[in-house]
Symmetry: C2
């Protein structure tokens, strides 16, 4: 073990609900038990921004002061997306390379195909690209959902990852069911469920040939596998899905390589 590894872990906390979201506070508190915490998060809510980055406008980073049990924790609010926050943090704002990046605790689940749209997950993906162990936490919708309960599981999983380290390039996408602590049966490793949205859209009347839309949609789970993330949280377990940023469908390369491309000439 080197001198650096013997230091207290250095942990970046971010999210997509904005720096004043209760889920971020709960996550930062949980991480304070594991190491030194820096919070760098969007100034305002950034849900459904996916992996967007801010290339065409200036970003500002403004110091932010937390109170209570987070008093004294270094924090900055960014006019930007979750991916921007992580890029700024890793390249400019942090004093050293973090040992762990945690994102969340998101207000609502990030299950199945929804990870594609999720700013919470994208923040973690961004740091995983840079080789930092990264975790995304989301609290599934539900009346009994409790960020403090979710924070306890963030602590358990963060502790484990700091000890065991993740395979390079991996993010753990964690979803916590909305039930009291005693009703959570444990932690399960899962796969993303096959699922999809069916959007219906709300149309606003117009006098011209324009059409004006708002999103409205219904979500369909198409996956009955007991180890899918949706079934797992429905069964009262914390779902931990390993996800990767290398989108290459390696299993399809061989098949496609046998294709001839000369049916028509360019």
């Amino acid at each position: 073990m080197t001198a650096i590894q013997r230091k207290r872990p250095y942990i970046l906390v971010t999210n997509d609900d904005g720096i004043d979201a209760p889920g971020l506070t709960a996550l930062a508190k949980a991480m304070l038990q594991l190491g030194e915490v820096v919070i760098i998060a969007p100034r305002e809510e950034q849900s459904a921004v996916g992996h967007a980055i801010t290339l065409r406008t200036e970003m500002r980073a403004v110091p932010y002061r937390f109170g209570g049990s987070l008093a004294g924790v270094r924090a900055m609010a960014i006019d930007g997306t979750p991916a921007d926050c992580v890029k700024l943090a890793l390249n400019r704002l942090l004093e050293r390379r973090p040992d762990l990046v945690v994102s969340g605790i998101n207000r609502g689940s990030n299950l199945a195909v929804n990870v594609m749209y999720s700013g919470t997950v994208s923040a973690a993906t961004e740091s995983s690209i840079r080789g930092v162990d990264s975790l995304a936490f989301s609290l599934v919708e539900g009346e009994a959902g409790d960020y403090d309960v979710a924070g306890r599981y963030a602590h358990v999983i963060g502790h484990k990852v700091l000890r065991s380290r993740l395979p390079r390039g991996l993010v753990l996408n964690v979803n916590i069911p909305p039930v009291p602590l005693d009703d959570i049966h444990g932690i399960r490793v899962t796969c993303l469920a096959r699922a999809r949205w069916e959007e219906s859209f709300i149309e606003e009347p117009t006098v011209s040939d324009q059409i004006r839309f708002w999103y409205k949609g219904e979500f369909f789970n198409l996956d009955d596998r007991p180890n899918s993330d949706i079934r797992t949280v429905e069964s009262g377990y914390v779902s931990v899905t390993p996800i990767q940023h290398d989108l290459t469908a390696h299993g399809c390369i061989d098949v496609l390589s046998t294709w001839s491309w000369d049916d028509v000439s360019p």
Copy 2:
């Protein structure tokens, strides 16, 4: 072959550079040789928006009129992201389910980890989630780059995919090198290169404790494999990378499933 399959292919064309981008015109022209084309694309440039969708504001769809060889092609401009365009198209604006969705031709490459940030690729990913064969096309930066050359390869690849169909859930991410037609050696199936950005950021002076940033970055290819997408376009081949939207790292599930999570209690 059913009656429906015997119909002319129905092809949706979209992009992230905006409906008036020359790459979109070239792609639509190429697709007109293969079937009936509908263009539904962002009204303004939407680069680097990733898989963002517009949940918090209204979107408008406005009819758009092309001239020249695209005269008479049905087209609509959307105040929204590429993923919004595809969702609106598939759920509301198209008369029937398309046989193919093509996105691009992007102004500049979408190679390696840049697919994460790419609106061009996200549009294709969105339709692949819905089970439609989907292709993303990008013309690599370079003085000799020519959208018409890229369009010829879009035609070749579109033709092949309409005949052979893709494995479900797959997108072909196509990058065309910026060289004259005769200097393109052919088409190669590739994997995304391991690469990363190192952002340095430009800082603007401020009088307060705020920091103001603009992105500035350098891109590093970390991958020498001859079948990586970067090496392939550098060698004068068109790169075709199969990419998937299921981000589950299936290969890591077994390892993680052996982890014990009870080092600390929740």
